[in-house]
Amino acid sequence: MGELFSQFNILGAFWVTIQLTFFAAIGALVIGTVVAVMRVSPVPILRGFGTSYVNVFRNTPLTVIMVFTSLGLWQTLGLVLADEQSQHFFKDNNFRLAIVALAVYHASFVCESLRSGINTVQPGQAEAARSIGLTFLQNIRYVVLPQAFRGAVTPLGNTLIALIKNTTVASVIGVAEASFVMADMLDARADVLFLIFIIFAIGFVILTLPVGLLISAVSERLAVKR
């Protein structure tokens, strides 16, 4: 077992998984929030855009989006996200493309989680905010969203757990995250196949379990406060 850890960079692979999760989560949160605001805005064009965004990205398999960022965005359209002269160009570029794919995909789920949160805010509060003269964006920022996030803790947390596991899809464009290294190890050390599976299963549980516990704790605290 110790020999497996010295032979393969298992911890490094999980570190890549954590980094993918971290940056994609921030991206998904920002994009998802913007799209959710569009979906409840008074401007029909923005609403239409928001709805289309969710319908497209929520219904396309992540693998397809992932492959598209590499073959479509980079190789065909020439979108370059890293320094081309660098020795680590392929590694960096693929890593960043993977973050883009993960972020735009999970943003649709963030958007829908937030929308369910927005629905927990009594419409009367938004009307009261309008009646004291807040503009749409002020209303969203100071009255609706702070409450919507509280109402959306559980679905947002579930989206984060899904994101952690979905980072494994980045292996299809060669990002050396956990499942990529696992596949390497299975090739080389089929003799300890079950051990390898167990190591990676436990690794992911270590990442996701705290998130689940945190969600329960936070939603309980907010429930008491309300």
Partner: protein, 269 residues
């Protein structure tokens, strides 16, 4: 940024007032042939209504007659198809920044209070002045405390809305509106979601406000309030203004059959 409003027409204590309030004031809210539909339903039919500076207009009428819609249309929470509405000589602008500014001049108190649940009582009252009028936080808080004292809930300033009784919440909602120094305040059945023992504490605040010279449009079936504080009663039925009169005259000698019928119903229970 800060268009400081003449708050002078509202006497902070609500004390200095004479009985027969003059309402010879200039027209403040003018509705001219306003029509509104909800789909097929014609909810406001050719409404003409002028509310003068300092006047208190009580709107009564059967359920579904369009009273709430009238209030919401004046505040432009609802759109309308034809006619015009002006506030202090300025026509209602379309959606956007101008409209938001105008809404700040028109206070609205809802049946269901609609306080911001995630903000403290004090924050509920200061949000508008700080974000809309650009008032400094310390200044807004001081003013908010004065207003909370005026409506009798100063002790609750740091609590959250859910910790207050309905009557207290509604008084906070009134303070929240007042903090914007509105030119006119609209009340849509402000006491009908309250337990009976809390109705008077809210009506007292409203009566004081009326005495202080605030221009008010009040949808209510509280006849005591209408008589004590109202200058005029407007009776609506089926989206039309059927009858207008002084409170005494209206309640004692209704002219139209619709009004007689309506009063017969609310007086017998």
């Amino acid at each position: 940024m800060t268009d400081a409003l003449p708050a002078a027409h509202v006497d902070p204590d609500g004390a200095a007032s004479t009985s027969g309030r003059p309402h010879t004031g200039e027209p403040l809210v003018v509705l001219d042939h306003v029509n509104k539909h909800f789909g097929e339903l014609h909810v406001l039919k050719d409404i003409d209504l002028t509310v003068h500076h300092g006047e208190v207009v009580v709107v009564v009428g059967p359920s579904g007659s369009g009273k709430s819609t009238l209030c919401r249309t004046i505040n432009r929470l609802e759109t309308f198809e034809s006619g015009s509405i002006s506030i202090d000589g300025k026509p209602l602008p379309d959606e956007g920044k101008d409209l938001a500014r105008l809404r700040a001049d028109v206070g609205m108190v809802f049946q269901s209070f609609n306080l911001f649940a995630h903000k403290t009582i004090l924050e509920n009252v200061t949000l508008g002045p700080i974000k809309v009028r650009g008032v400094k936080k310390a200044e807004a808080e001081q003013r908010a405390r004065e207003l909370l004292e005026r409506v009798g809930v100063q002790a609750q300033a740091d609590k959250y809305p859910a910790q207050l009784s309905g009557g207290q919440q509604q008084r906070v909602a009134i303070a929240r509106s007042l903090a914007m120094d509105p030119k006119v305040m609209l009340f849509d059945e402000p006491t009908s979601a309250l337990d009976p023992e809390m109705i008077n504490e809210v009506l007292d605040v409203m009566t004081k406000l009326a005495r202080s010279g605030m221009t008010m449009v009040v949808v209510t079936h509280e006849m005591g309030f209408a008589r004590k504080a109202g200058d005029r009663v407007v009776f609506m039925a089926d989206g039309q203004i059927v009858e207008e009169n002084t409170p005494e005259e209206f309640f004692l000698h209704p002219r139209s059959d619709r009004a007689k019928d309506f009063l017969g119903k609310i007086l017998t229970h």
